[in-house]
Symmetry: C2
Subunit: 362 residues, 2 copies
């Protein structure tokens, strides 16, 4: 099994800690290791570093290689620019030697958190098994914990004969595998609540498992323009910059997964492993250790008469008194103060900084 | 006229900007100059730097001399330790050569703010005139702007014949001089409201004007232990450390001013000059420039959907969104976040840091 880690993201949700030159996946938000390093460590018992591939951008490649010295440098692939996930995955698979391309490839985002690594590996191993034996497209779907409207969902179909309900949660055994009836886009709050209540939906976490060659065949049928572009790049690697820029910038979800009906068999392994995509400072607050007053804390913090805050000191000291429900983030050059539940609005501050030409802070 | 500037304070109200090694009077809270430098500049048209004396602590003396190169170094007097204002003033006057000791001495705190320097100088000049001609004790009392309970008050007596109501505010002329009926301690809120409504009370701003020799005579009558101690120090300057530590640690207000009835004539010049003792971050917020949304701002600040905050970046950048009524202060090593109206509670954080042995932050 080859691992293909998508590490080209440039998200701004963890500003001011995340910067253009140091996006979320390269940050150590919880422990000592970055989310990218955690991703590689998590799968190591299953997939050794020499079978790990990373797709990232040119700007980030040096830091990625520095963080992952155990991954062969040539397997850190540098996109000339970001063109969304379908080109990134297609290009990476097409860049593998023919033998690895025929292997099962596990596509993994580099910026997710998993509490229970063993459960994650068990699901991944099961998915790889099915992808290898039956040539199916597999996805790991997260058992939803609330009616999230920020994710796509998978609707479950029947269980596969060899991974069905017989292996229920009450007894140990290989994780269940079930068909995916369909992929659905981000729902309304009402629809999301129905999905979660029904027990028939999983969160689409962007984790996919398939043979590389199978994926390339699917691209030829569903996104022929992309398949042709990748073929041209393979013939003339010197034309990478112009060729890559010309690839259709589509996500694997929209361009491939939602259109597989009649093209390929799709199944999922439900994942219940303390997964989080850490989509904001508020999401990080949910998983950081708490002080006695319900403040999620990292770094050097002094709090008095304060509760329910996220207090994140990457450098220096944060001292708070008499405040509630805030996110306070201190980096070497900047401090952010924002209500915890509005932490997604950090993008408005970034827009303001962009408008003021303050690119040194971005 | 000699100026005697009290610059030994070690207040903590502007933590984390103020530190033991850099208390409030040495900080530039508004402009480029520190409050101490502003104090010297303010009186310069009246009292040249060669007639300025500064009492400070040993730990602060080097920085005081650095900030005031125009004041003779020998006139920056170094207390071995702080013993409150009565010993500081007595010792400084006693340290002056005999001729200056006979001059009028204006005692000025080093950490106050004055918006209208000309009005301040006019009042000070008037007070010095009366102190010189009539040998009275003068004080500059601030016309109260609200029912403050954190200050002492002066109750006004009748106007002096040569400075009375005839020179009202409607026509220019020398400031009014009025007798002080009594000094009163910090009042209750009800009492403070009565004082302000009556129009017969002024804030005691700790600014006193008298002949040095007159003050020493008063000390002999009211605080003989202090007078004897100062005399001993004058005879044996080599015993300063032990001798100074043995002086009674009393304030000029309690030990002298409140007890002058029958001892000396006391008068005041009402001061209406935009005075503030800058007693907290909230008080500073009242005088800093505002952005369009009512945030008092200093330094590099980005605010969106935020109003009524004090945003003070001594170093680096402060970015806030969606918060109201906070004080956010960022220094080189620390950030403080506290509700603006609770900014006096910063002492609780300092106590917490002391308890944790974090003296490097104090």
């Amino acid at each position: 099994v080859q691992a293909l880690i998508l590490a080209g993201g440039s998200g701004t949700r963890f500003w001011p800690l995340s910067r253009r030159s140091r996006p979320k996946q390269l940050l150590a938000l919880e422990g000592e290791r970055s989310l990218l390093q955690e991703t590689v460590e998590r799968i190591r018992p299953l997939i050794p570093p020499e079978d790990v591939w990373v797709v990232t951008t040119r700007a980030l490649a040096a830091e990625v290689r520095r963080q992952l010295p155990e991954v062969p440098a040539a397997q850190v692939l540098e996109e000339p620019l970001g063109r969304n996930t379908a080109p990134a995955i297609g290009w990476a698979v097409r860049s593998m030697p023919e033998q690895q391309r025929g292997d099962v490839v596990a596509v993994l985002p580099a910026d997710h958190r998993v509490a229970d690594g063993a459960a994650f590996r068990a699901a991944l191993a099961r998915a790889a098994e099915v992808a290898e034996s039956d040539d199916w497209v597999l996805t790991l779907g997260v058992v939803p914990r609330w009616a999230e409207t920020g994710y796509g969902y998978l609707e479950l179909g029947e269980a596969l004969p060899d991974g069905g309900e017989g292996h229920g949660s009450s007894e140990p055994g290989p994780p269940t595998v079930r068909r995916v009836a369909r992929f659905v886009e981000k729902p309304t709050p009402e629809r999301a609540a129905e999905y979660v209540a029904s027990g028939r939906y999983l969160w689409n976490a962007g984790i996919f498992v398939f043979r590389g060659t199978t994926f390339l065949e699917i691209l030829e049928r569903l996104v022929p323009e992309l398949a042709r572009g990748l073929e041209a790049l393979a013939r003339d690697p010197g034309a990478l910059d112009a060729g890559y820029a010309a690839l259709p910038a589509e996500s694997i979800d929209y361009a491939v997964m939602e259109k597989l009906d009649g093209i390929a068999m799709v199944a999922t392994v439900p994942l219940d492993c303390g997964w989080s995509d850490l989509g904001s400072w508020a999401a990080l607050a949910e998983v950081l250790p708490e002080d006695g007053a319900g403040n999620a804390v990292r770094g050097d913090v002094v709090a008095a008469d304060a509760s329910g805050n996220l207090l994140f000191a990457d450098r220096g000291t944060i001292a708070v008194l008499g405040v509630e429900g805030l996110a306070v983030v201190r980096t070497g050059d900047t401090v952010l103060v924002i209500p915890r539940e509005r932490s997604q609005d950090v993008r408005r501050l970034i827009a303001e900084l962009e408008a003021r030409g303050r690119s040194e802070l971005l």
